[in-house]
Amino acid sequence: MEAKEIIARRVAQELKEGYVVNLGIGLPTMVPRFLPKGVNITLQSENGFLGLGPLEGEPMPGVVNAGGVPCGLAPGAAMFDSATSFALIRGGHVDVTVLGGLQVDEEGSLANWMVPGKMVPGMGGAMDLVSGARKVIVAMEHCTKEGETRILERCSLPLTAKSRVSLVVTELAVFSISHGEFVLLETAPGISVETVREKTGARFAMADKVGEMALA
């Protein structure tokens, strides 16, 4: 199974019936495909609506996701302006946001919006999402293409938000973050704790029982 699918499948297990969820671009948008049976969530889109659905048939005027790409509307969708959209986001009305990351550290800080001198796309809604969502899950590959770990004692890249991440899901492991330390909760099938340790740039505690990542 591809790394991205492993991650998306595992993140999907975190979403419960009735949750309002905002998914960042890229990998996080794969998550809904793997929702457990019977779990219905409402997707929030920061460009102004609740009830984002997959595109079915022809694109409809004005029905686009936060990337500007045509999408669909779920039954019971509601549209609103951007001030309302971020009132929802910052006001704690989004249960979970799932975002990609460049780096996460043991303080729960996330860097995912710029690489100085290289990539400055702007933060868009990411800083508000990480500051405001009730639970922040980072879904990312454990290491960069160059093999550098993304899981660190301290992020070296500019932060998106400080101390807001509570769960990190990679293709190798699942960590929670609490009280300034990573806690290893699960390892992917066939991945040893030693492998995780080698590829992780921060110490981590072990959960009482380190389980195997459920990819159902």
Binding site: P75, G76, M79, G92
Partner: protein
């Protein structure tokens, strides 16, 4: 998730000492059925947050009269003599807040904002005890967020998911308080199936609504 509840389920949601935000302006837009349930429930020591205490027999007036309220945070009490009498008798704390400031404070509470700077009240008794700041050469007061345990809302129509539509000036505080409480209870005149309210016409999105009860007159 079924949000539709029956009237007997409403009363037990309230407890002594709770803070309750209510929609409505002079009683118009106030969920009168829920007020009646609160009245009958005999919960006490309530803090009410909303625009006004209406008239003795309108809006939240009956709760003031019954002595179930220990504090109100409102912009106006002039049309309900019972409010003033209880205030003077020391039975009721009344915080008077300018209407535009009140709704912004509620909006802050519901939007994760820590406060807002408003020119309203500068140079008046309203500024007492507040942080004053100059921005661009103009003075402002820092006004802080308000939140509640429960918001009670009146809507014209809800779909079964909880999307709401209000009617005319009965909108007023309702859509704003829907963001600012831990539990949001809506009394509606009309309940329709999901999909019957156009997404562009939703005034309060379903995600904010916890419980829906059908008006007894409806």
């Amino acid at each position: 998730m079924n949000k539709i509840v029956q009237w007997p389920e409403i009363g037990p949601l309230f407890r002594d000492g709770m803070t309750v935000m209510f929609g409505g302006f002079m009683g118009v837009g106030t969920p009168l059925g829920i007020v009646a349930v609160l009245r009958e429930s005999r919960v006490g020591q309530l803090t009410l947050i909303g625009n006004d205490t209406a008239m003795p027999e309108a809006g939240v007036g009956p709760l003031v009269a019954s002595g179930q309220v220990s504090r109100v945070i409102v912009s106006h009490i002039g049309t309900n003599p019972a409010t003033g009498k209880k205030m003077i008798a020391g039975e009721l704390d009344v915080d008077l807040v300018p209407q535009g400031t009140l709704i912004e404070r509620i909006r802050c509470g519901g939007s994760g904002l820590g406060g807002v700077l408003t020119p309203t009240g500068v140079g008046t008794v309203v500024e007492e005890g507040k942080t004053k700041m100059a921005v661009g050469g103009k003075e402002y007061l820092l006004e802080l967020p308000l939140r509640a345990d429960i918001a009670i809302i009146k809507a014209k129509r809800a779909d079964r998911a909880g999307n709401l539509v209000y009617e005319r000036a009965a909108r007023n505080f309702n859509p704003v308080i829907a963001f600012a409480a831990d539990l949001v209870i809506v009394e509606v005149d009309e309940l329709v199936e999901v999909g019957e309210i156009d997404p562009d016409m939703v005034m309060t999105p379903a995600a904010l609504v916890d419980k829906i009860v059908l008006s007894q007159g409806a």
